[in-house]
């Protein structure tokens, strides 16, 4: 392990009314932590909570509601996070019917997104097959998670962009019904939202492009290691501007801004007819290609798993290089992998400053690497020897 690179570690975790836990308090060492037990006992729930602190959402569900214990109105995830030689307390209260509230060292922050960057973690889970096989929105969500962990500031830009997009779509929808005579008035307000859409959208697109440029070689080399007999994997940014302008955009902010305004201009009538915004980073695609064929629709089951794994491990390497080595979370994945991929993943786990691995049976864990065994039985967690 390179001593110069700071790494992150979760030293303590407290869960209150989170999933099936009423009040759980755990202390973790560095190294490899195995969380084992029968199905449905609460293994994933523990790592889901850790992952939540790093991305502000679950890796399993879109909404926070299922995370709150039945018959309760709020849940708490609290952790002590070590970064280099510094310890930070971070906690978040998830609430039904009102805004979540987060704190750093017990001091409330105005917005929960301000805790992003305190804990960086990469989760690899069965749900990740959706990055490869699902809609473009899955791949955008994947990019967003990495981007906000690398540059937490971007989460504010994303929130602003989403809000402007909603406002602009509402205006387009109401304008669609408007009579021609009203069109001039609509255009005047529309151009005001155009300006903000382009401002935030440009920042997002430039950040995404940079992310993909940095990520691509790391993901490609990981993929080559775990699937040496497969065609090479490549990542590219298929942004909605190039698509509508029918020529590539250079990712200089001024050039993107110009192309963005032009694309909005070209699409204006179509946007008014359909009542939605047709260009912008909300229509971006991360294109994944194996050799000449797109991964989606062409890759085999095993190849799809390898691509998903390579995307996560490449992200891990990127964050380790650019920020600090993240916590590695592997939820129930060893069972899904063949020998070669298991071996590769085990090598990565061996190098990780802290890794959490969940599995229903001991055999689905790289046994020799494990430093701490936790057994989960009906939301009771006990430490045991191998």
């Amino acid at each position: 392990m390179d001593e110069a690179v700071p790494h992150l570690q979760v030293r303590q975790l407290t869960l209150q009314n989170f999933r099936n836990y009423d009040d759980l308090h755990l202390t973790f060492p560095g190294g490899v932590i195995a969380i084992v037990g029968s199905n449905g006992q609460g293994k994933t729930n523990i790592v889901e909570a850790i992952g939540y602190l790093s991305t502000l959402h679950s890796h399993r569900v879109a909404s926070d509601i299922p995370l709150i214990r039945h018959d309760h109105t709020s849940a708490v995830i609290a952790a002590e996070v070590i970064r280099g030689d510094r310890a930070l307390m971070v906690d978040i209260q998830l609430n039904t019917g009102r805004a979540n509230q987060a704190r750093i060292n017990k001091v409330a922050v105005p917005r929960t997104r301000e805790i992003l960057g305190v804990l960086t973690a990469i989760t690899f889970a069965p749900e990740d097959l959706a990055i490869v096989r699902g809609d473009p929105s899955e791949r955008r969500a994947f990019l967003n998670d990495i981007a906000t962990q690398q540059f937490p500031r971007l989460s504010g830009v994303m929130a602003d962009y989403d809000r402007v997009l909603k406002q602009r779509n509402a205006l387009l929808k109401s304008a669609g019904g408007a009579r021609r005579s009203n069109l001039e008035a609509v255009s005047a307000t529309l151009s005001v939202w155009d300006e903000q859409l382009v401002e935030f959208g440009t920042e997002l697109m430039c950040a995404r492009n940079e992310l993909i440029v940095n990520l691509a070689p790391l993901v490609a080399s990981t993929y080559a290691e775990i699937a040496p007999h497969s065609e090479p994997l490549s990542l590219s940014y298929d942004d909605s501007l190039s698509r509508s302008e029918e020529r590539p955009v250079t990712y200089d902010p001024d050039a993107v801004r110009k192309a963005f305004f032009q694309a909005l201009d070209t699409k204006r009538q179509q946007e008014l007819d359909r009542g939605i915004t047709l260009v912008g980073p909300h229509r971006d695609e991360l294109r994944l290609t194996l050799g000449r064929a797109p991964v989606k629709g062409y890759a085999s089951h095993g190849e799809s798993w390898s691509v998903a794994l390579a995307l996560r491990l490449g992200s891990y390497d990127l964050l380790a290089r650019e920020r600090a080595t993240p916590v590695l979370i592997l939820d129930d994945v060893f069972a899904e992998l063949d020998t070669r991929r298991r071996r590769h993943l085990a090598e990565r786990v061996a190098d990780a400053p802290q890794a959490f691995i969940t599995a229903a049976v001991d055999e689905d864990v790289p046994v020799d690497l494990v430093g701490c065994w936790l057994e989960v039985d009906k939301a009771e967690v006990t430490q045991r020897d191998r």
Binding site: D160, L171, S174, A185, A188, T189, V192, W193, Q196
Partner: protein
Amino acid sequence: MYEGVLADLIDELGQLPGIGPKSAQRIAFYLLQAEEEDVKRLANTLLEVQERVKFCEQCGNVSEEDICRICRDPRRDPSMLCVVEESRDVIAIERTGEYRGRYHVLGGAISPIDGIGPEQLRVRELMQRLSDGAIEEVIIATDPNLEGEATATYLARALNPLGLTVSRLASGLPVGGDLEYADEVTLGRAFAGRRRVD
């Protein structure tokens, strides 16, 4: 839980902004135990506010007269106009003591999600006020959030052809917030450091 008129009171209080069911209960029980004259005074004040307070015909601020105190005050600089979203913002700016001109209250900000466009705001009234040339500088002091920014940009574009000086509060206000919650010092400095928009 509670019945009859007490339940009605709790419901009514719960309708008020910023008051949840628990606070509504607490206030209701406080009122139950309060002196009769105190309760009567409160009830009368509520009725009086309803009867007497209206909106200034000129600037849209709350007022007991047809024309509000600020619009009537001859010591106010007639060449300066500050455009705000709500009457609450007028009070916040007055507290800073930095501004001696008059106001124009829009009644909100552009927000298509809520069905609010320029036509729903007092923009036409603003253009009328500016038509006689007496006002030389317009300061746009909408909230430092997306809707406030959009409204400011819209107004700046509409006002620019009139050949006035149009300025916007300096940044430094907490982004994403409401003007009325900015402290006096911050708001005062934003006023002093306002910048021209072209």
